[in-house]
């Protein structure tokens, strides 16, 4: 297992290097002189000369990349132009909020998606299956920021059950934290639940056709046992993999959800940075989310390796 892990780890190194090159190259896409763009409103010649010197803009591009990646490897993603706070520190403050949101969303997605997928497969061709399929496809088609707006209208404005926006740290007030996070987590979890439902359904249908399920039935195992012990456990393997991969997508989905519910997380950070032309923060967010995504891919591979004995043979 360790050898497999090391082999996979070595394989992701070139990908991470290329991602870093790509994130660095983003700066070159800025229209016009990057020094002017980075200077923002401070456009006097002295500030521009200082920026050129500081970011090594007079050097060839590969040398600029060398300086930049050297700092990144030491955990220095630059300084936010607007807040003057190191980008690493800024991201470290925001990331826990988004991770909490993502974990709650994936829990909700699992609670909705997996049972719906199992039921739909067991009742294939019935109105329940049709309903589950239409619901899943609707979940994939509904823009999560619109679902968020509708829920605010219904749950917060009309019924007054939950706050429409805001955030409270779980360490200060756990109950209030859950009140503010449950609706955004539900919104974020909807499309993931739909994806999980579709994958669980097709995995269950595949497993229910297999020889070992037929054998279990022929041996007289009760239907409930066949489904839970033989079919469901094996159908879960691809679902775990998909679930791990979806965590990466949740980071992206959080951008909109956090914007709608005014949650001060990672996603809101990138939007604020875009409007403040705080390019170091944008680069930091893209780099961190990509590395996280690569890490989750690796974790999904490992989960598949652990759960599926056939790979280990």
């Amino acid at each position: 297992m360790l050898a497999y892990f090391l082999r996979r780890l070595m394989a992701v190194v070139p990908t991470v290097v290329l991602v870093s090159m790509f994130v660095f190259a983003l700066q070159q896409m800025l229209p016009g002189d990057p020094a002017l763009a980075l200077a923002g409103e401070e456009r006097d010649p002295e500030s521009i000369a200082y920026i050129r010197e500081k970011y090594h803009l007079n050097e060839p591009i590969w040398i600029q990349y060398g300086y930049w990646i050297g700092k990144v490897l030491q955990g220095d993603l630059g300084i936010s132009l607007r807040t003057n706070i190191p980008v690493t520190e800024l991201l470290a403050q925001k990331l826990p909020v988004t991770i909490q949101l993502a974990l709650m969303a994936i829990a909700i997605a699992l609670l909705i998606g997996v049972p719906m997928g199992v039921l739909s497969a067991l009742k294939r061709g019935t109105p329940l299956d049709w309903f589950a399929n239409v619901t899943a496809l609707s979940g994939l088609s509904i823009p999560n920021f619109w679902l968020g707006i509708l829920l605010i209208l219904l749950v917060s404005v009309q019924l007054g059950w939950l706050p429409a926006s805001g955030y409270e740290s779980p360490f200060d007030d756990l109950a209030q934290n859950l009140k503010t996070m449950i609706m955004p987590a539900f919104v974020l979890g909807t499309s993931i639940a739909a994806t999980m439902m579709r994958h669980t359904r097709s995995a269950m249908l595949e497993v229910l056709k297999s020889d070992y399920v037929r054998t279990a039935r022929a041996k007289g195992v009760r239907e409930r046992g066949v489904i839970m012990r033989h079919a469901f456990r094996n159908a879960l393997i691809p679902v775990v993999t998909i679930g791990t991969l979806q965590l990466g997508e949740l980071l992206a989905g959080a951008v909109l959800t956090e914007q709608v519910f005014t949650i001060p997380g990672f996603g809101k950070q990138i939007v604020d940075a875009v409007f403040n032309r705080d390019y170091a923060v944008v680069q930091g967010v893209v780099l961190c989310s990509s590395v996280a995504f690569i890490g989750l891919n690796l974790a999904a591979d490992m989960a598949y390796f652990v759960l599926n004995p056939r790979i280990r043979v």
Partner: protein, 291 residues
Amino acid sequence: MADVVTTIPTVFGLQIRSRAGRRLLRHRGALVGGFLIVFFVLLAAAAPLFATHDPLATDWLAVRKAPSLAHWMGTDEIGRDVYSRLIWGTRTSLLAGVISVAFALSVGVPLGVLSGYFGGWTDTVISRCNEALLSCPFLILAIAFAAFLGPSLTNAMIAIGLSAAPIFVRLARGQTMVVKSEEYVDGARAVGLAHPRILWRYILPNIFPPLLVQATLTIATAIIAEASLSFLGLGQQPPSPSWGSMLSIAKNFLIQAPWMSVWPGVGIFLVVFGFNLLGDGLRDALDPRGD
């Protein structure tokens, strides 16, 4: 010899397509999806006929008016007719979806085909770069591109297209690797056909079906992405109407004018639902196991 080589895949391709066509016509989901798409395309094409007001005209005497006979879906925060803006917004959404996917296809398919067909260093370089781009979550990548290119609908479409291209690179590469080992491609090589001709005549037509399915599903994703970027202020800029930017403004008037938040979302949902239904239907219809 050359004639034999050229006829086999074409005839086979036609058989597959006609069977797939019949299966598609029997697929209820695909029919509903197709109907929804045709409806929205007609709405977009004939927007001046369907709109009852100028979508940009403001009326300070009709600010945030609830739906009525004069304004079927009410008015917005500066008295513009929501219904007319919704109709014109259909154009933005459909154009953004189709153009960005066309852009993604035009970037992704040639790279994927070259990668899969030639293998070796070409494949290594293209695949590694593609994996790096696939490592970034789609929307974050689109936001980053839009941020560095500047906020506008054109840049949003480029950003979405660039972000979606890696999916087509991967798909085209995989399909090309399957098709290039087919006997008819070996035959074409044996009779000395040049690589560009083999790629154009034999590889591209045979990798088309899965690309068509993926393109249909990606249009749905691209429409949501455009709406998302416009919602964040990185897509269509005011005062031009777009469903995403309409929702972005509506968010600020949830209590005073809730009708502003409903219809643009319904529009996005229905058109995306249509493309997803059609994409699913196409996938089922083009699946050879369907027989």
